[in-house]
């Protein structure tokens, strides 16, 4: 079930360093939202605050509110583990668990959360998620082989299948294609298009064509100078951002006049 995210007044720190400042935005349910902006502007940091992965980094600290369908993720008594169970994440570099087979990688989220399934149910779940990740036909004959033996693009699709297997409401993707070739990138983009009917998707990308291709809404982040915190410049429909942005900096960035 896709859910809506409302962020208000969010500031994140690494120790004493303020990485992003005062971000307020809405992420629409069942749509793809892309974050673009120059390196170091805090896109990834912001993404990681959305499922409380930011605080895993030593010194990581967050102020402000993130509402998932009106429930504050940073409210008192909220278990970060439950948050991450609800909001899945795919990382920049494909990172399947090296000790596990392809099958076990997809099943890992359920199994390691203590969810017992009958063999037939688990088989069905693994197949459904691998099909969902457009990977089933490529790996169905070698499910018992290690996941690290796949190609980079296949590994990344395996990671997406692993993330969808725990049935999250939101899927966060941190530059999921930056380590992949164009063919694999296309496969992932097709997949994102397919997944957005079921999940709210947020994707960080350096590739502006990609943002234009896959996203419904685009947020542009920027920072005033090196060492300054990153800020949200604007968020709008992707069409609008790429054709007629309301802020000059956005237009400069998109047209390649800086950054």
């Amino acid at each position: 079930m896709a859910k809506r995210i409302d962020v208000s007044g969010l500031t994140a720190y690494y120790g004493a360093h303020k990485a992003i400042e005062d971000i307020t935005m809405h992420v629409e349910p069942g749509a793809v939202t892309a974050f673009i902006g120059p390196s170091g502007c805090g896109k990834s940091t912001f993404l990681r605050t959305l499922n409380r992965m930011h605080e895993v980094t030593p010194g990581g600290r967050v102020e402000g509110r993130v509402l998932l369908d009106n429930e504050d993720l940073y409210g008192p008594g909220v278990d970060p583990v439950s948050v991450r169970r609800t909001i899945g994440m795919v990382f920049q570099r494909p990172n399947p668990f090296p000790t596990m087979s392809i099958y076990d990688n997809v099943a890992a989220g359920i199994r390691l959360n203590g969810g017992a399934r009958r063999k037939s149910e688990m088989d069905e779940l693994v197949e459904r998620n691998l099909r969902g990740a457009n990977l089933w036909n490529e790996v169905k004959d070698r499910l018992a082989r290690p996941g690290s033996g796949l190609s980079g693009g296949q590994q990344q699709r395996l990671c997406i299948a692993r993330a969808t297997a725990v049935a999250p409401d939101v899927l966060l993707m941190d530059e999921p294609c930056s380590a992949l070739d164009p063919v694999s990138t296309l496969a992932i983009e097709d997949l994102i298009d397919k997944l957005k009917s079921e999940y709210t998707i947020v994707i960080v990308t350096h590739n502006m064509q990609q943002a234009a291709r896959v996203s419904d809404r685009t947020a542009f982040f920027n920072l005033a100078a090196i060492g300054q915190p990153g800020k949200l410049i604007e968020i709008d429909d992707t069409q609008q951002i790429f054709s007629n942005p309301s802020v000059q900096a956005t237009e400069d960035y998109i047209s390649g006049r800086f950054g």
Partner: protein, 361 residues
């Protein structure tokens, strides 16, 4: 502006200096290595005979020196300086390898040739009960049993504590406590085995007035084993990429399960090697065993009460008797000790390989 052009003019001939004049520089023929080896060996033998040097080691040393110098000079003259330095470095690497292998090979050869004949089924299954030092016969069953029990007990005590300490240090430890633990683990690594033995002696036998036993020995051995396990496990856990931990946490898997199911399995190969090194070290300890286990010629299968023996202690005792029969027994027991550690090592490596991260398509 003028400075820039000046630099350009100056650097042009410098670049021409390092440019190779040809893509096919002269090479020494392949047989030159064999010829040099033979030649320098001949020079060594000749110098030894003519100079009346008695030690063969001196002959070898002369030959080696001649080989290094001649090879460097020859390569330098024919192929150039870079290749000569390359050859020199390669020669040094090989020489170091041979130097490191010599004691190992000689030790193995000596132990197998002297101890091998003494190892048979009778030797492995009988104790020294009633066997006098000059008599043939007798065996190591009691010592083998003692070693296996004490090492197993020490491992049971030290491995969980060591593993958990390392997990704490890498996954949880921040601030002063972690620093203090790291410091004391480092200090513990340097504890001489006799000091660990004395510590347990004063605590266990003198203060608590509990008698000699294999368990007391195992306590001292676990003190020696623990820091090695902590150190090696810590290094292995640090090698596990943070991305894997994040991937697991992002699936909503709790931290303790992430450590148990993702981090530890990924590092299991290296951890096993570290544990085996620690085990091999304590299996050969004699000092704390003399102090705490006392030694015994009879079979005592109860590790918690009464004096036991152990293989290193047995070797020491037999050697101290100084008779021909006792020497043979000492060598045979040493061989069994080496074999035991090696078998344990192979088994652990097998398990690690079976459990280790899988690669391949």
């Amino acid at each position: 502006m003028s400075q820039t052009s000046h630099t350009t003019v100056k650097s042009a001939p410098a670049a021409a200096d390092v440019r190779p004049k040809t893509l096919r520089p002269p090479r020494l023929p392949r047989w030159s290595l064999a010829a040099l080896l033979l030649g320098s060996a001949a020079v060594g033998v000749a110098a030894g005979l003519l100079g009346g040097l008695e030690s063969r080691a001196q002959w070898g040393l002369i030959a080696a020196l001649v080989f290094v110098v001649a090879r460097f000079a020859l390569t330098s003259a024919v192929e150039g300086r870079r290749q000569a330095v390359d050859r020199l470095a390669a020669t040094l690497v090989w020489a170091s390898f041979v130097l490191a292998m010599l004691p190992l090979a000689s030790l193995l050869w000596e132990t197998v040739s002297r101890g091998g004949p003494g190892v048979d089924w009778y030797f492995l299954t009988h104790s020294m009960n009633g066997v006098l030092s000059w008599q043939d016969g007798g065996g190591i069953y009691h010592a083998l049993l003692g070693t296996v029990q004490q090492v197993a007990l020490a491992s049971v005590l030290a491995i969980p504590v060591g593993l958990l300490t390392a997990v704490y240090l890498v996954e949880y430890g921040r601030g002063r406590l972690a620093k203090a633990i790291t410091f004391f683990v480092d200090v513990m690594t340097g504890i001489p085995s006799i000091v660990a033995g004395l510590f347990v002696l004063s605590l266990w036998i003198m203060m608590l007035d509990l008698g000699y036993s294999g368990f007391a020995g195992a306590l001292a051995l676990s003190i020696l084993m623990m820091p090695i396990v902590v150190r090696s496990t810590e290094e292995m856990l640090k090698l596990v990429p943070g991305e894997l931990r994040e991937a697991s946490l992002a699936l909503g898997i709790p931290k303790w399960r992430t450590i148990l199911k993702v981090v530890l399995p990924t590092a299991i190969g290296g951890i096993t090697t570290g544990v085996m090194l620690a085990l091999a070290r304590i299996a050969g300890e004699t000092a704390p065993i003399i102090l705490l286990v006392f030694g015994n010629n009879m079979i005592n299968a109860n590790v918690f009460e009464g004096a036991q023996s152990s293989l290193p202690l047995y070797v020491y005792e037999q050697w101290a008797y100084g008779t021909e029969a006792a020497y043979d027994r000492a060598w045979a027991a040493a061989l069994v000790l080496i074999a035991l550690v090696m078998i344990l090592n192979l088994v652990a490596r097998g398990i690690a390989r079976w459990k280790a991260p899988k690669t391949g398509r």
